[in-house]
Amino acid sequence: MSPSLRKLFLGALVLTTSACVTINIYFPAAAAEKAADRIIDEVWQLREGAAAPAQPSAEDKKP
C-alpha cells in the first residue's frame, strides 16, 4: 500500500469511528425536535382540530 493510500485509509477509518462515537454520545437535538412534533401532533391531534370548535363559536357570539 502506498503511503498516500495508507493515509486515506487511516483517515476514512478515523472518520468512521468518530461518526459512530458522535452518534452514541451526543443527543440528536434535530431528530428529537421532529420526534417531539410527531408525538405532540398525535397527543393534541391538531389536524383534526380537537380544540378548534371552541373558537368559532366564541366568535359567533360577538355582535
Binding site: F9, A12, T16, A19, F27, P28, A29, A31, I39
Partner: protein, 136 residues
C-alpha cells in the same frame, strides 16, 4: 492493493450514512401507551388550556395557571388531571431516553419537548416563557 481504494470508499460512505442517521426511536410499546393515555386526557385538558386555568410550564409539564377560573368544586378534579398528565409526561421523557439506550438523555428530551409544547400551543393558551406566564 486494488482493494484499498474500495475499502476507503466503503468506510467513507459508511461514516456518512451513520452520521446522517441520528434518529430517535419513539415507537416502543410503552411510548405508544403513554401517547394514547395523554391523547385521551387531552379532551379534558383542552378546555382548561383555552380558559387559562391550566398552562404549559417551561419545564415540559402542565401547571395550574389561574385557579380562579375553575369553580371550587372542580379544583380537585383539575389538580388530579394535572398530576396525571405530568406523571405521563415524565414517563414519556424517561421512556424515550431509555428506548434509545441513553437514560441520561431524559433531561434533553424534556427540554426539547418543553420548547415544542410551548411553541405549538394554540392561540389563547397560557405558556411559561423565561419564568413568566404569557398568553399566546
Amino acid at each position: 492493493m486494488k482493494l484499498a481504494p474500495l475499502i476507503c470508499a466503503v468506510l467513507l460512505s459508511a461514516s456518512l450514512s451513520v452520521a446522517a442517521q441520528g434518529n430517535l426511536e419513539v415507537d416502543s410499546p410503552a411510548i405508544g401507551a403513554l401517547k394514547q393515555s395523554m391523547h385521551q386526557r387531552h379532551s379534558q385538558l383542552a378546555p382548561l388550556y383555552q380558559s387559562g386555568a391550566v398552562g404549559l410550564a417551561g419545564d415540559g409539564t402542565v401547571a395550574l395557571h389561574s385557579a380562579g377560573s375553575v369553580p371550587l368544586a372542580q379544583r380537585g378534579q383539575v389538580n388530579a388531571l394535572i398530576a396525571a398528565e405530568n406523571a405521563d409526561r415524565r414517563a414519556l421523557y424517561r421512556e424515550i431516553a431509555r428506548a434509545n439506550g441513553h437514560p441520561e438523555w431524559e433531561s434533553d428530551v424534556r427540554n426539547t419537548f418543553a420548547q415544542r409544547w410551548v411553541q405549538r400551543a394554540q392561540s389563547g393558551w397560557w405558556v411559561q416563557q423565561g419564568g413568566g406566564w404569557v398568553q399566546k
